[in-house]
Symmetry: C2
Subunit: 328 residues, 2 copies
């Protein structure tokens, strides 16, 4: 039986979505139990609305709540009874096999690194993120944990992203690329040039990837520093709204029938579906000594279910042993 702790107070729609996500997850996987961490009464009340296999959803009281705007380090230090600190503490003690949350990413990163510690040989834990391309979902790493990097860190991001993409995302041989200003080996800052040389040790390193090659899916794993990754991630998230605005502007200039507008809107929704971050099942902190994932604040119950099942996958695939072996 696999056990995953779930932050019942994480995200914009708690406790509803984490609780429903947990219910969906245990129904989907009968070898799974979930521990919901958060204010016991509130969660218990929410849970009572659902029908679920008793005994496979357990409550762990954690009355303190970390807000989305709190300073990560302080929140972790000052709120030992928060759902995040309690859940990660249980994982650190070996009581559960992983922890997931749709809460404050900064607090989760800080708490994961602080409570779980680093894996042997890993310079800095990192956060990866899914990034949609025309060829399907790619992985961008780092997405904002390490704003300034050294070449060795970029190398390790490539190594960790490679393992995650292969074992969890299902790429047989992920193409690992380094985000840069040009394709040629000698392009870019000194840091990027040195990272290029180090990454050549990966047989599936495909070299430098330019900005225009990201959406085109010219790599599966995009290695970058956390500043670039964070800006690109949020830029990508903003594309559907911006283009809907531009298209609606073009539509308004013409006299279109209601049905034509409805058709266009439904085509747009379909085309933009890959960019809907509320459907993505969470992203991992990699390089920490444990399994810890974070989901978008707007995560739907299905997104939370998928995040829980991804955490199970990570635990089952022994991803951390592989990372330790690869960075050694």
């Amino acid at each position: 039986m696999m056990k995953i702790a779930v932050d019942a107070t994480g995200g914009d729609h708690y406790p509803q979505n984490p609780v429903e996500g947990a219910v969906l997850a245990v129904k989907d996987n009968d070898q799974l139990a979930v521990v919901l961490t958060g204010p016991e009464q509130e969660i218990s009340k929410e849970l009572s609305k659902h029908d679920y296999p008793k005994g496979r959803i357990i409550l762990q009281d954690a009355p303190e709540i970390i807000g989305m705007d709190e300073s990560p380090a302080q929140a972790v230090r000052n709120k030992p009874h928060s759902s995040i600190v309690v859940g990660l503490g249980m994982h650190q003690k070996g009581m559960v096999d992983g922890f997931v949350s749709a809460g404050n990413t900064g607090a989760l990163m800080a708490a994961s690194a602080f409570i779980l510690g680093r894996l042997d040989g890993v310079i800095r834990p990192t956060i990866a993120t899914y990034f949609p391309t025309v060829k399907g979902m790619g992985l961008m790493i780092d997405a904002g944990a390490n704003l300034e990097v050294k070449p060795e860190m970029l190398f390790q991001f490539g190594v960790m992203g490679n393992i995650y993409a292969r074992d969890i995302m299902g790429f047989e041989t992920p193409r690992v690329g380094l985000l840069n200003v040009g394709e040629e080996k000698e392009k870019g800052s000194e840091t990027l040039k040195k990272a290029y040389v180090l990454l050549q040790a990966l047989p599936n390193f495909v070299g430098n990837i330019e900005g225009r090659d990201i959406l085109a899916g010219q790599a599966d794993v995009f290695v970058c520093d956390g500043t670039t990754g964070n800006i690109l991630l949020k830029f990508g998230e903003s594309i559907p709204d911006a283009l809907k605005m531009l298209l609606m502007g073009a539509i308004k200039k013409r006299q279109l029938e209601k049905e034509q507008v409805a058709l266009i809107i439904s085509l747009l929704e379909e085309a933009f579906a890959p960019f809907d971050y509320q459907r993505v099942g969470g992203v991992p902190f990699l390089g920490v000594n444990g399994i810890s994932m974070v989901g978008h604040g707007g995560s739907s119950p299905v997104a939370i279910k998928n995040m829980i099942l991804n955490a199970v996958k990570m635990a089952e695939s022994d991803i951390n042993k592989k990372i330790i072996a690869s960075v050694a």
Copy 2:
């Protein structure tokens, strides 16, 4: 009479587009003369296809051509008779009021800095680029000239971008923002935090701008290092093709009438027009002791005409005196 030198061998469609662009420009502005630099015979032949006010388009022989893939520094050193080196040399000697090209950006940046030199007080010349938003055209600075930056450089990019946006792009009071991973003053790398403090000296500094705020047009001038700017610029350029692919995928899944597909495509073209970099009239190198602009390799004749007229505007507005005064 204003005189602008135009690289007749720059871009993907030379000498046709530069020559036609020059013809359009002198027809548009009767106080303008253009010097076309490049292989004389070839340009002369192309020019003879056009009807234009004689005496206001002059040829300057420059038989060497710098390829799009040549190493910038070497090309400038080894090809003194190239159109770029000849044109910038004329500008440096005061024979023309500015130089424009749709050629190799790296070579142009290197040649502009080397031949024209830096403006007093400017730490590093920079390249700015237009960036479309839902509110119209913004300016991103730096777009790839300075891959690693110091806070003082970012401050100067903000100062120079502010002046360009106001005097050339027509913003009354441009909103100058710093690209960062969060809105709050204390967010980001040490470099970005220090740049924030320096940029507060600009009364129209609007603070940090996140990735999601770029397309939404939450600033008019986006200040960043050249690595981030270059990756974002090329990423932005790739959006229309990627989304057309996704939309065509959605369209193919349904049985749509020919007219419906045609309508959607024409709406798309209209919505994506702001992203068409072939229509943008060139972008400036700022901080060099002169007027030097570069256009997209695919620049249309109209784009080249607009670039020439922008160079005239820069020369007329005495932009460099204002930059010297502002960075002092």
